[in-house]
Amino acid sequence: MKGWFNAQAIYVLWLREMKRYLRARSRIIGSLGMPFFFLLFLGTGFKNFKPPNFPSSVDYLNYVAPGIMAIVLQLGSMFGGMGILWDRQFGFLKEIMVTPVSRVSIVLGRTIGGITTTVVQGVLFFCVALLAGLKYPGIAGMLSGLAFMILISCAFVNIGLVIASLMRDMQGFSIIMNFVMVPIFLLSGALFPLEELPRWVQSLCFINPLFYGVDGLRASFIGISTFPAALDFLILFALCGVMIILGAFLFSSVDVD
């Protein structure tokens, strides 16, 4: 146990997330249901819709699949980060907080655990999307996609942590769900192009981390994006750093009872 970085504690916090994840098999399948139906029915329903500024070779399913994947990652990782609310509810947070493990290590363990489970969900969705008609993006595309999946998860696990640190209990959960999570994915360009939105709404999109995530995933999977993939990557990377610091800071000041 040396100072703020406690590898064994980070490992066991990660291990706990893995065990819980693998034991909730119905949840794994269940959380793939929504994106699968989105992909299937939106993809077929809007088959003849041509996203503006996109070459006609790209059909709506290929346009929307990276977007839905981003939503899968966003929701999964935000729920993951907010898991500390459940831990608080069931008392386990006290068991964690009374140990001599630095708060930073606790946040890191939680973050890495959240990233792992969410990225697994993302990969599962990717396989489903390939079956549904997403074009195979090649090894480089998949690796670059994986990098974006990790960054999106990392950012949103910590956003979830920040939100959970500011909440006392589960009371406000549906407000967060409906007024934070939903606008984030609607204003990310995941499902539809943002060009038609009023200017001030568009400027909101530019501070939305998921916007860069969606853009990066599109760049990786279908090779078309608003910004160059490298720029998306850098912006997301910086956002992750900010969010980790904010998450660790707020989590350290959390009251346990």
Partner: protein, 331 residues
């Protein structure tokens, strides 16, 4: 060096003075009890001593470490069993213990060996591979006690260790606790609002109410402090009789109720005729006198002016009352 010392330890939540200048010391190897009704501030004291809450003022040392400046050292010296379950339901008993051991940085061999030891201490060896969600309340509590001991703490905190358990399980838990204290040489602080529990287990007890410690002593000395015997008296004019009895040098204390009074005395048999004679001289009709040994309940009543049971009816009301009081005394 004591296991725990606190000096004027105080915790304020907004207007609520939850812990009011508590000073106490617990010797090494002691089994010390904090006895008080729900909402008296017992859990808040434990939370401060275990670094989960910062005190508003005052100081405390656990195993020689300052609870404010040496949080990690304090955390490493203590084991904790919380009032409400604090386990991961989705993990097995063994996994919960393993999680704990790794959080405390224990090496693999030690971890495995210690897991067996603490499991056998609470007789859960054959339940180790079962998910916690399938444990009964008593089993969970035993596992939490085992977990609290996992990392060889010097001081173990037990916050209402038998709350919500059936009488039989409660007695088993008492056995485990006694065993830990005697055989494993662990200093134990337990909070409880069960009189029998404090009486049966603790070597010393602090009675706490409205965040204040009213008195600290051994159970026997506490009982003796209000008289070796209690006379239960019914009479035609209790108010006058009580006033007169208060003047008698052999009366150690009186608690008055609507229909009867309790009088603390020693050698109770000899005091019955004295009381009757006194009453007769005053023209008061004595209806009945009985004699019994005082219990902790009587001690509690004596020092707080109420029984602990009536206080258990509603802890919300109690907290409200508490806030009213603390507002009055700390404007």
């Amino acid at each position: 060096m004591d296991a725990i010392t606190t000096d004027q330890l105080t915790k304020k939540f907004d207007t609520l003075l939850a812990v009011d200048r508590v000073s106490l010391s617990v010797a090494r190897g002691e089994l010390f009890g904090l006895l008080g009704p729900n909402g008296a501030g017992k859990t808040t004291i434990i939370k401060m001593l275990s670094t989960l809450l910062s005190p508003t003022s005052g100081s405390a040392y656990v195993w020689g470490h300052d609870i404010e400046r040496e949080k990690d050292a304090v955390r490493r010296s203590i084991g904790m069993v919380f009032q409400d379950p604090a386990v991961d339901d989705q993990l097995t008993g063994r996994e919960n213990l393993d999680f704990h051991a790794r959080m405390y940085g224990m090496k693999k061999e030690l971890r495995l060996q210690r897991t067996q030891e603490v499991l056998s201490l609470v007789n859960l060896e054959d339940k180790a591979e079962i998910l916690l969600k399938n444990y009964s309340g008593g089993m969970k509590r035993r596992l939490e006690i085992a977990r609290g001991l996992m990392h060889y703490p010097a001081v173990l905190f037990l916050d209402e260790p038998t709350l919500g358990l059936d009488p039989q399980t409660r007695h088993h838990i008492w056995e485990y606790i006694r065993n830990l204290n005697e055989k494993q040489q662990v200093s134990i602080i337990l909070t409880t609002h069960y009189m029998e529990e404090a009486d049966a287990l603790c070597s010393r007890i602090a009675i706490i109410d409205y965040g204040k410690i009213l008195i600290t002593d051994t159970p026997a000395a506490l009982k003796n402090s209000i008289g070796n015997d209690l006379l239960h008296i019914r009479a035609s004019d209790l108010v006058r009789l009580a006033r007169e009895l208060e003047q008698q040098p052999w009366v150690k204390g009186i608690t008055s109720h609507d229909s009867h009074i309790y009088v603390g005395v020693s050698q109770g048999e000899e005091k019955i005729p004295l009381t009757v004679n006194l009453a007769q001289a005053m023209g008061i009709q004595v209806t009945s006198i009985s004699i019994r040994r005082p219990t902790l309940e009587d001690v509690f009543l004596h020092y707080t002016g109420k029984t602990i049971r009536e206080e258990d009816i509603s802890s919300t009301d109690r907290i409200r009352e508490h806030m009213r009081r603390s507002r009055r005394s700390h404007p």
